[in-house]
């Protein structure tokens, strides 16, 4: 793929982010993008490999793209890996509309439906340690289109969240760490200092995606033009709406994140238990080998681990034990499993660079061209 980014203006990144976010929550729609600049033509496609349907309050079910392209560093034999995610439908928060928004014509029952997703999925590896790399908040209007302008509310939100309570105290966020792009606020953190090489090979970085779906119920709005006008009003007053419901929003988000990160915190406890026991197992076993006068036994132990002496045996034993316990696999029917093998560099598959002046949407039912 040619890197054409240098040819196109900055809004291309916003376009890409918009289409990506749109595609995430409208997984039934395949997006084909053709870009023509002078003599150069590039084609892109947005589509979901792994989809998950969720029933929300809305009559139209939500179809999320839960494809996960992240693979961890895997050592040794072929292993199962889940190529999708398992979104969780959270709470629905009713928010009040500020008076001046009502003066402008915004009426009805406004609420925010939270959906969270922890990615990549490591449910099949209950002993694997995880770190949280970032938390992304994505806001969508009632038509499930990403909100273009992200409210400043989300910039200041980290100051009101209790990250220690969430068990992600390594996530140190200030407003400058918050990236905002087309409806998405991302709170990133510095990676924790590694205490040893085994930390890198047996821990997986996860991100938390929090989808905030705005929903409006107004029995007097039924015409398409009215719906579109209402959505414009919501976006225009979103900052005020959020500020008007600051406390409730903060509490709701804290609760959603806490529920999502419960699994992550359980893993920490499991990891501590396994590590603590591993130290005892290692020291007891090596102690027996070291003080044994049975040469055959000692030689067999060294040969099996392919080492030369008890010092190397201790290192190899410890490393092996940590690896086999970390990578214990418990297959799950609900996971989108595929076999992966060998040593891979830890990578994220970054989004495609999109520069567009031409849109082409297609679904099973209809095709859109912009």
């Amino acid at each position: 793929m040619k890197d054409m980014r240098h040819l196109f203006p900055e809004w291309s990144a916003h376009m890409e982010a918009f289409l990506r976010s749109f595609s995430l929550v409208n997984a039934e729609i395949n997006i084909h993008l053709t870009v023509k600049v002078d003599q150069h033509t590039v084609q892109y496609a947005f589509g979901a490999k792994v989809k998950k349907k969720l029933k929300l309050f809305s009559p139209v079910p939500l179809k999320l793209d839960v494809t996960c392209n992240t693979q961890p560093a895997i050592y040794g034999k072929e292993r199962c890996w889940c190529l999708g995610g398992h979104p969780v439908c959270g709470s629905r928060l009713h928010v009040s509309i500020p008076p001046h928004a009502m003066d402008q014509g915004l009426f009805g029952d406004l609420s925010i439906q939270f959906v969270t997703l922890l990615s990549p999925c490591v449910l099949q590896y209950p002993n694997l340690a995880t770190h949280i790399s970032n938390i992304q908040l994505m806001v969508f209007n009632p038509s499930r289109v990403p909100v273009l302008k992200v409210p400043r509310f989300f910039q200041t939100l980290p100051a009101f969240l209790d990250f220690e309570d969430l068990g992600v105290d390594t996530l140190h966020c200030s407003s400058k760490d918050v990236q905002q792009l087309c409806g998405t606020s991302t709170y990133t953190s510095e990676p924790p200092s590694c205490s040893g090489p085994q930390q890198e090979t047996s821990a997986v970085w996860q991100r938390v995606l929090v989808f905030l779906f705005l929903q409006l119920t107004d029995p007097f709005t039924s015409q398409l033009t009215d719906v579109m006008a209402t959505e414009v009003l919501i976006e225009r007053h979103l900052e005020d709406i959020l500020n008007n419901n600051r406390h409730a929003m903060t509490v709701a988000l804290q609760s959603e994140l806490r529920n999502t990160l419960k699994a992550h915190n359980c893993r920490k406890k499991i990891k501590e238990k396994l590590n603590s026991a591993a130290e005892v197992i290692l020291s007891s076993s090596i102690s027996i080998v070291s003080c044994s006068s049975n040469l055959d036994f000692r030689r067999d132990c060294l040969n099996r681990m392919k080492v030369r002496d008890t010092q190397e045996l201790s290192a190899a034993f410890g490393e092996s034990l940590r690896r086999v316990t970390s990578w214990k696999c418990v297959p799950r029917h609900s996971c989108y499993s595929a076999k992966v093998r060998g040593m891979f560099a830890y990578r994220h598959v970054s989004g495609l660079v999109l520069i567009c002046c031409h849109f082409h949407f297609s679904t099973d039912e209809r095709t859109f061209r912009v």
Binding site: K273, A277, S284, I288, N294, C301, R304, M305, T325
Partner: protein
């Protein structure tokens, strides 16, 4: 006077002859003793096999697993009338996985104790279970954990606990016409487990359930009033050393052994432990059980016969009735129809009584009337 006194207890002599005729050749017991007592080198080899198994698993990129015989399942136990309850050769096992949070702690605890035992056996030194616990209280959490794991290891290595060089703090008491020497020639008190050269002219042995009853007999000089005898108590549920001692006395003296327990399901169960063994220690039944133990008292039928006052009788609780029903289901009861009848009496009357209840008849009834008459006239089942 002495001759007259001994003549009164001819029933005991008859019982002894009967027991000697029924029991196997004494040499077979010693042979069995050697079989179940592996050497130090055997113990070390067996521990090394376990470690090699762990290393092999890791070399194959698999999580190590320890397999412990399941000592708490009736499915693993069979009954032999000459031995008692014993563990089947094809018993089920519990798998301790090193990659499971629920079992990794126990895995580590077992390995730790194995490494302690390895060093003890190698250096020919000894430690008590209490020492092992106190050396690492954080890992083990409680004394009970250490006790249970030591027994698990004993079963896993197919070796009695004494071969692992792990001792228990003694619990039982013994008194009577008995003296013995340790292997090093020292005459020691009755709490040693390595007794040899037992010398005794005792005609019978009485196992007493409770310490209180034991002390009562001591206070009343019971052992001097009757023919030579030995009394022993495990102070309730007996520990291994007490059971080993009873077994040792049987192997050496081959005299009748009687049980004096409360007339309640708990007392009967304690008596069954001496006679047939326990589920938890069934893998060591050969060295711990004495199937020839007879039930001397306090029998449920004695309560009616002696017209023990009703105000000292206690109604059976729901747990008592449950335990009684469970005892009646035990495989060894089919071998003991007289015991079954006594337990059915208890089930019918729905009452229990402690040995101390005999004091309601008269203060010295137990020592001066009840026991002498029982022993004189063969009042055991």
């Amino acid at each position: 006077m002495e001759a007259h006194r001994l003549q009164d207890f001819t029933e005991i002599d008859k019982l002894r002859l009967q027991l000697l005729n029924n029991s196997k050749d004494a040499t077979s017991f010693h042979h069995l003793e050697a079989e179940v007592c592996p050497s130090s080198r055997d113990i070390l080899n067996r521990i090394e096999d376990i470690i090699l198994g762990i290393v092999t698993s890791l070399s194959q990129d698999e999580a190590p697993v320890l397999k412990l015989p399941n000592r708490s399942s009736w499915a693993n136990i069979s009954f032999d009338s000459t031995v008692g309850l014993q563990m089947n050769s094809g018993h089920s096992v519990t798998a301790l996985r090193s990659d499971s949070p629920s079992s990794v702690n126990k895995f580590a605890q077992v390995l730790k104790i194995l490494s302690v035992i390895y060093r003890l056996v190698q250096s020919n030194t000894y430690a008590t279970k209490r020492d092992i616990y106190y050396n690492n209280t954080q890992l083990f959490g409680s004394q009970a954990t250490v006790d249970s794991i030591v027994d698990d290891i004993s079963c896993m290595l197919r070796a009695p606990r004494r071969s692992l060089h792990v001792l228990a703090t003694s619990k039982g008491l013994i008194s009577g016409d008995l003296c013995y020497m340790e292997e090093d020639g020292m005459r020691i008190d009755c709490r040693s487990s390595s007794a040899v050269n037992i010398v005794s002219s005792a005609k019978f042995i009485i196992i007493v359930e409770k310490d209180a009853t034991f002390q009562r007999l001591m206070d009343d000089d019971f052992c001097t009033k009757l023919p030579p005898c030995v009394i022993i108590t495990g102070k309730g549920v007996p520990d291994m050393n007490s059971r080993l001692m009873v077994r040792k006395l049987w192997d050496t003296l081959h005299v009748p052994i009687f049980a004096l327990v409360d007339s309640d399901p708990h007392g009967i169960e304690i008596m069954c432990i001496y006679k047939y063994g326990s589920m938890a220690m069934s893998f060591e039944a050969h060295s711990l059980t004495v199937p020839s133990v007879m039930w001397l008292g306090l029998l449920p039928s004695d309560l009616q016969r002696l017209q023990v006052p009703s105000d000292v009788l206690i109604p059976l609780t729901k747990n008592d009735e449950k335990k009684l029903s469970s005892l009646l289901q035990r495989p060894y009861l089919t071998d003991q129809p007289d015991w079954q009848k006594e337990m059915e009496v208890m089930q019918r009357t729905k009452v229990k009584a402690e040995i101390q209840s005999l004091a309601a008849i008269s203060p010295d009834f137990l020592t001066n009337i009840y026991l002498p008459n029982k022993l004189r006239y063969g009042g055991w089942v």
